[in-house]
């Protein structure tokens, strides 16, 4: 089949201006997009720059946007990708481009990767020989271990769009992989580090990362697990911890959420500055009768049953 590839070009020597360049090529529909691109470079334009290492769906080095959606190009065939005989190829959205489809991985991912200290730090003495991990622990961290740092989860992340300094799901996945390893002894410190600004509490748990991950790792699930562990240990930004504790206390005592209590307790009763910040929103809500006066929060009918579930769960944590 004859397909036109519209490739985003970027040449730093040409004032950094980017433009699309079209290449026509005759290939089988079963050819991968990456192989077709390689053929274009070999036969038509040796200056075309892109990455692609294993070419067999393992390393994730060939990530780029195919018709606007980030994909591994070695896993996608031309026949599936083409739309009306055309395929557009661009670098991911949130990166600094070096040349054509090659981008700066250092700032996009590696700096954040380093920030989560992606190595095991044992707290006690290390055995001289092999340091074995029990099978059941391996099962838990295997998902996170299969991450190749292709960056597609970061590419899909909703938060990075508004704030490039957010750690992002790729680095947080690595953080999980290390702290869930029984050989690591620094879970408390790691959770405190991840609770700093731009860390795991900035995740909106929108499941975009889960949808984008080609390895089925489910980074959102891992972030939830780390946040649960932090809350259990009372670790987190103070307002986040108060928000959680108030949420849990109101469901535990009444079966459902007492929103007025949640808002006030999150700021803290003894925090006049925080409470004052709420005032404009509260006044607007009262003026529109969105916040009813007087405010009453009654127990749900099954509240005692919900409380029993809470108590049983709390007993398992002791």
């Amino acid at each position: 089949m004859n397909v036109t590839f519209k490739v985003r070009r970027y040449d730093p020597s040409n004032n950094g201006k980017g433009e699309h360049q079209s290449y026509s090529i005759d290939v089988d529909g079963d050819t991968t997009v990456l192989d077709a691109l390689t053929q274009i470079r070999d036969e038509q334009d040796g200056t075309l720059a892109f990455r692609g290492s294993c070419r067999s769906g393992f390393c994730g080095d060939c990530s780029m946007r195919v018709n606007g959606k980030a994909k591994w190009t070695c896993r996608m065939t031309v026949g599936k990708a083409e739309k009306d005989g055309e395929i557009s190829l661009e670098p991911p959205r949130l990166v600094t481009v070096v040349k054509d489809l090659i981008y700066d991985q250092e700032t996009f991912m590696f700096d954040k990767y380093k920030a989560v200290k992606p190595w095991i730090e044992p707290s006690g003495p290390v055995p001289e020989g092999e340091y074995l991990v029990p099978q059941e622990s391996i099962r838990d961290i295997q998902r996170a271990m299969s991450c190749t740092l292709c960056g597609l989860c970061d590419e899909g992340c909703t938060v990075l769009v508004v704030d490039k300094t957010f750690l992002g799901p790729a680095a947080l996945t690595k953080a999980y992989r290390v702290m869930a390893d029984p050989r690591d002894g620094k879970m408390g410190r790691r959770l405190r580090d991840l609770s700093q600004k731009r860390g795991m509490w900035d995740c909106v748990h929108c499941f975009e990362a889960t949808e984008h991950c080609p390895k089925g790792i489910d980074p959102t699930d891992l972030i939830f697990a780390m946040r649960d562990e932090a809350i259990k240990r009372g670790i987190g930004p103070p307002r986040v911890v108060r928000h959680h504790d108030s949420f849990a206390a109101s469901v535990k005592s009444s079966g459902w959420l007492d929103e007025a209590r949640l808002v006030i307790e999150t700021e803290g009763f003894l925090n006049p500055v925080g409470l004052a910040r709420l005032l404009p929103t509260a006044l607007r809500a009262m003026a529109r009768r969105k916040a009813p006066i007087p405010y009453l929060h009654s127990k749900r009918k099954g509240a005692d049953k919900i409380k029993r579930i809470f108590k049983k769960w709390e007993a398992t944590k002791k």
Partner: protein
Amino acid sequence: MKYAFYPGCVSRGGCPELYPAAVKVLAKLEIELVELTDVGCTGAGVLSREVSDPINARTLAKAEEMGLPIMTICSTCQGCLMQANHRLKKDPAYREQINRDYLAEEGLEYKGTTDVKHFLWVLEEDYGLDKLKEMVVNPLNDLKVAPFYGCYLRRPPEVVVPKGKESRKKALESTISALGGEVIAIKGKGKCCGFPILIPNERNSLEMCGNHTLEAKDKGADAIVTPCPLCHLELDGNQPRAAAQKGRKIDLPILHLPQLVGLALGFTPKEMQMQRHIISTGTVEAKARPKATVQS
């Protein structure tokens, strides 16, 4: 058509306009509801799954006893209940453990047969948009509406959009069209509204709210419609602060899905409690006002 109705905390708390509006619309459509009154909050992604899964299993078991599917009117309730249901259905050993440790004492057992559906999906899949069209007495022909789903009606895909249910990805657009309105496509329709990070990172949260509302406004929308009251809290309640951060006037009305349906079914904006929104819905009310009919 009959459902075990799970209205959720926010429809009577932070968005007290949603519950009465939804109940009126559902009654008009003759969709019968048996409200689940003695069940707990879903956990909303705030509580650990270790405790929210048993609470949700209890809700699912209650509906199972009634022999009814659950209907929600909140994307977040829908997502949390549905994800818990997914875990409980696919892993019988896990379900067994929750039954034994948490539900047995109350004489309950969840067998894994309950389905959970958001009002949007009930309209599109069970009620049918053709039938809805027939019920429209006040087509919203002059209204340009941007859809905004809320994350949990979009993802994770294997839970939310199983095989054969692909029309869910466009259900909001299809519903707006069925009501006579014009769909304004926005890129942010399936993205996060920003509400979940209002506490840890207000700046990022308001940035998201500002981006979505401004995108809809700049594309000419009269309103955004959402099936999620938490998105409503953010896009409506926090819009004034987002506008201040963005340095731009926004003033874009945000409607709950049942309110949009209600206007087309002939309810007044007051009956749909639209006066309780933070952002005035005046422009929507003017454009959705029933046309004077010529008497022959």
